[in-house]
């Protein structure tokens, strides 16, 4: 009897918890604080934190990162030995959840401001420079090519894209990359304004831009079709992300499948978001998370956002020059994506100079262009490194 009690006690988490796991529980609590109190992208960060918590309580059998450590997914072993979070994690590992969420993103995005101002696309392109700068930086810090690619994509400022690429290139870094990506997205209002102000003159920041032209329904319908065909033909590896994004957008703009669009925007996106967050968080086990890599990723991620902003604003200044002062360079900062946070930051910084200047719609162009830009960058990295 006592023997049995002793045996039971020996199999509790209290008897088996490691120091590192204890730290991870505190990390989870800190992330809860950021998600709930600070409202840092809580839709993702709250499930991520809870997944991280569950994965670091010992002996639960919910998640076995080692089952996914091989090159290929061994479905037989996973089914036989896996736990709840292993099964749900298959949706990340097989690259299913991020495209499903991208269908939702597409169904919620209006590309009208981009169609009205095509030059926005160049700002969206320029901001992707942050990805590659970070990529090189990661190589310098000793990451492998794949790890560096997965780290660089944080600069895409786009959660599902980052998770998609990281799960393909460096699944062992998925946890810290996702946490960094979402945290910095939430920190955009703090990271960007000083950079934007430092790089621009008061004159530049007060530029009022011409009203955008109206965009017809036909254009909005053709846009996702044309983008899908052209981009996927050029970078086949971007098909899952670009295809999903444009499928969602086509359904939205077609106006003939509203009941599907409604479900996509709500039930589907929400369900997948929970499963994605929970399982991405669960990949962050103590051993891999509490390592030098994580600190590097946190530093590099901040760099990625900063450099992306710098590149966007500088390109904006170039367009300011070339257009004879018609383009407000601030809108370049929105090119990092982080939709719609970055566009709102542009609006806010613009109004600080001139309360009557409304840059939001002008910033939405580069903002949504940044989503396409980072999906293209992810596809390219996947194709070159995958």
């Amino acid at each position: 009897m006592l023997e049995n009690i002793y045996k039971f006690a020996a199999e509790t988490g209290f008897a088996n918890i490691t120091f590192k796991e204890g730290i991870m529980i505190l990390v989870a609590c800190f992330l809860f604080y950021l998600a709930i109190k600070k409202k840092y992208e809580p839709l993702l960060l709250l499930p991520i934190s809870f997944g991280l918590l569950l994965a670091n309580l010992p002996l639960t059998g919910l998640m076995h990162n080692e089952l996914f450590a091989k090159g290929q997914v061994d479905i037989i072993e996973i089914v036989q030995k896996g736990g709840l979070l292993d099964f749900l994690y298959l949706g990340v590992k097989l690259g299913i959840y991020p495209p499903l969420i991208f269908i939702g993103v597409g169904a919620m995005t209006d590309f009208g401001p981009l169609i009205a101002n095509p030059k926005s696309l160049l700002l969206g392109a320029a901001s992707q420079f942050g990805i590659y700068f970070t990529f090189i930086g990661a190589l310098f810090l000793g990451f492998t090519l794949k790890e560096a690619g997965a780290t660089g994509i944080i600069g895409g400022a786009d959660g599902p894209t980052a998770i998609f690429l990281a799960s393909k290139l460096a699944p062992h870094l998925l946890g810290p990359i996702a946490v960094a990506a979402y945290s910095y997205m939430a920190l955009v209002p703090i990271i960007q304004p000083p950079i934007m102000k430092a790089l621009t003159t008061k004159e530049e920041r007060t530029v009022k831009m011409e009203q955008l032209r109206s965009v017809s329904k036909l254009e909005k319908i053709l846009f996702p079709i044309v983008v899908s065909i052209f981009v996927i033909l050029l970078i086949p590896a971007s098909a899952a992300l670009i295809g999903s994004l444009m499928l969602g957008n086509l359904m939205r703009e077609s106006g003939v499948v509203d009941r599907l669009v409604n479900t996509i925007q709500n039930s589907l996106t929400n369900i997948v978001t929970i499963l994605l967050g929970l399982t991405v968080g669960a990949t962050a086990n103590a051993e891999s998370f509490l390592s030098l890599s994580t600190i590097k990723i946190i530093v590099l991620g901040l760099l990625a956002f900063a450099v992306g902003t710098v590149a966007g604003v500088l390109f904006g200044k170039l367009m300011y020059k070339l257009s004879g002062g018609k383009v407000n360079p601030l809108i370049g900062a929105a090119g990092v994506s982080a939709v719609p946070m970055a566009a709102r930051v542009v609006q806010k910084v613009g109004r600080e100079e001139n309360p009557n200047n409304f840059l939001l719609m002008h910033a939405m162009g580069p903002n949504v262009a940044g989503v396409i830009g980072s999906a293209v960058a992810a596809g390219t990295l996947l194709s070159l490194l995958g």
Binding site: P118, F140, R344, K348, L360, G373
Partner: protein, 91 residues
């Protein structure tokens, strides 16, 4: 050292491809404008349309943004000397 050279190549190709893709897309959109956009629509109609754009554009996220957008639209409208705006919560 080899890895860095590889990395630089990836970077050059990567940035090149991103710019190529988005630049070609911008040309396509310029073509859209030529093909599908007619200037002659009235100014007022455009205003309404912009209003519409903003509304749908922000449907994506929370109230904060909405407030920003609404105030932007309101300011636009006030500037244009059109009054009596009936504001309701956009869903």
């Amino acid at each position: 050292m080899n890895i860095l050279i590889n990395g630089l190549q990836v970077t050059v190709i990567g940035i090149g491809v991103v710019f190529l893709v988005l630049f070609v897309l911008s040309l396509i959109l310029e073509l859209f404008k030529v093909l599908f956009y007619k200037e002659e629509k009235l100014k007022i109609k455009e205003n309404i349309n912009v209003d519409q754009q903003i509304k749908t554009s922000v449907s994506q996220k929370s109230q904060v943004q909405e407030v920003a957008a609404i105030s932007a639209v309101m300011a636009t409208l006030i500037k244009d000397d059109e009054c009596i705006v009936n504001i309701r919560r956009v869903k």
